[in-house]
């Protein structure tokens, strides 16, 4: 019997094209046995949400680099809410000042991973939280 899979959407948003981090994370989540749908660059919040719906994703992972997180995060959270995707986990990664982490969590981000995070911590977080969400 095969195992049921955790399905993760990994995406960039807006014009910033620094996709290296997103790609590396995507590949390593795959190696951790997850099914990763990689959306690539220049996504709009709505586009990300539509993909999450079609793919019945458990997790949406968005990667930022250059300060656009405060612009797009609210839009993504809003789209998640208006589509009733409350059972989907929203995880963001990239570079932000620590001050913004609580900020983004207030907005509705479930977890934030900054540069220099070890892959294991990300994997452990996703695995455990997804299980929680579904019980």
């Amino acid at each position: 019997m095969h195992k049921e899979k955790i399905k993760v959407i990994v995406s960039k948003v807006g014009l910033d094209g620094h996709d290296r981090g997103a790609k590396v994370v995507a590949s390593l989540l795959k190696e951790a046995g997850m099914e990763v749908v990689y959306l690539g660059m220049y996504q709009s919040p709505e586009g990300i949400i539509k993909a999450a719906i079609d793919e019945d994703a458990d997790v949406i992972g968005v990667s930022y680099l250059s300060g656009e997180h405060l612009v797009y995060t609210p839009k993504i959270v809003e789209a998640i809410r208006s589509n009733g995707l409350d059972d989907v986990l929203l995880v963001v990664g990239g570079s932000f000042p620590p001050e913004d982490i609580p900020l983004m969590k207030e907005m509705g981000v479930d977890e934030v991973f900054r540069g220099g995070s070890l892959t294991k911590t990300i994997i452990d977080y996703i695995t455990s939280s997804v299980r929680e969400k579904n019980h």
Binding site: M1, H2, K3, E4, K5, I6, K7, A26, S27, L29, K30, E31, A32, G33, M34, E35, V36, V37, Y38, L39, G40, Y42, Q43, S44, E46, G47, K50, A51, I53, D54, E55, D56, D87, V130, R131, N134
Partner: protein
């Protein structure tokens, strides 16, 4: 149980028929996970399936399938057809994980509600990838898609089975992969109704084209039902709009094959063949389920194996006994 709690099957199917993406998505997940619930669901879905044009596309990596599909979708949307896409990518045999990258190529449609795209990992499906794919296609049919495109990778037996979910099967090749082509020539006959030579702008395309046409011309008798695969050169990649070539021709060829299927009423045979194949698959894996469930806990399974190892009996007799026991034959 990993996946989320559900509303009743009938309610879900209702929503599906109303074209609700989330209902479709959730049902596909159930099918993927081979959940017990899926059978009862599929029973309800089945009557609403079988009404769409299903196109299968395979070809080895780097042949540009995704870009090709991107343009096909564009065309069908111009004809105001609703389109569903099932994009299958290989799962890692070691970790079971999969990196599903096709959506990058479909970005142009990322905001189009008339397009439903679902990426699937090939996983280690019980009953084969084909069965799961077929169910996914049915769900997409029931949700009201006029055209459904099934994309898969390579031309091994699994892929062939998967592609046979479709009525019209495309094999995508590209120049500069001569060996693959040689390897595939063998399979062409049973896979392809149409052969797409993508990246036809690359060096060596002409040579490739000729050799393919030759293969078909000499290699294949016209099948009794009178359809002979054709080769259609295309260029699907490229940022320039005029770079893209052969898409219209391809769509026409697909339509030609479809109308051929209907006019020659081959469609029934095809469908009959598909059903037969499906029953085969379903029996195989349901039966296996039944038997193993029956043996579970009885410790018999181990006994049988030890007996065989000890040479007291052999697999054939064991199967006979077991079948007799279970099926009262």
């Amino acid at each position: 149980m990993l996946k989320k709690r559900l509303s009743s099957p009938s309610e879900m199917v209702e929503r599906l028929l109303a074209g609700d993406r989330r209902a479709a998505a959730r049902m596909i997940t159930l099918v993927e996970d081979g959940a017990e619930a899926s059978n009862s669901l599929m029973k309800l879905v089945y009557p609403h399936s079988g009404r769409s044009v299903v196109i299968g596309i395979t070809g080895s990596g780097g042949s540009g399938k995704s870009s090709l599909i991107n343009h096909l979708v564009r065309k069908f949307r111009e004809q105001e057809k609703r389109v569903g896409v099932v994009a299958v990518d290989p799962s890692s045999p070691f970790t079971g994980g999969a990196l599903l990258g096709d959506r990058i190529r479909f970005q142009a449609h990322s905001m189009d509600d008339g397009v439903y795209i679902r990426s699937m990992g090939s996983r280690g499906y019980l009953g084969g990838l084909a069965r799961a794919t077929r169910d996914v296609v049915r769900i997409m049919e029931a949700m009201g898609n006029d055209v459904i495109i099934v994309e898969t990778l390579g031309a091994g037996q699994d892929e062939v089975d998967v592609i046979h979910v479709a009525q019209t099967c495309l094999l995508v090749l590209s120049p500069g992969m001569g060996d693959d082509i040689q390897a595939m020539k063998a399979g062409i006959m049973e896979i392809a109704d149409l052969i797409v030579l993508n990246k036809a702008d690359l060096d060596g395309a002409n040579f490739c084209l000729r050799s393919l046409e030759a293969t078909i011309h000499y290699g294949l008798e016209e099948s009794e039902d009178g359809w002979k695969p054709r080769v259609i050169p295309t260029v699907a990649a490229g940022a320039r709009s005029e770079d893209v070539q052969g898409i219209d021709e391809l769509v026409e060829a697909i339509e030609a094959h479809q109308s051929y299927l209907h006019e020659s009423r081959t469609i029934e045979e095809v469908q009959a063949k598909r059903i037969e194949q499906e029953l085969g698959l379903v029996f195989k894996d349901e039966l296996q389920k039944v038997i193993f469930r029956g043996l579970r806990g009885t410790g018999k399974k181990r006994k049988y194996i030890q007996a065989i190892l000890a040479g007291r009996t052999n697999p054939y007799s064991v199967v006979e006994d077991v079948l007799r026991a279970f099926l009262k034959v």
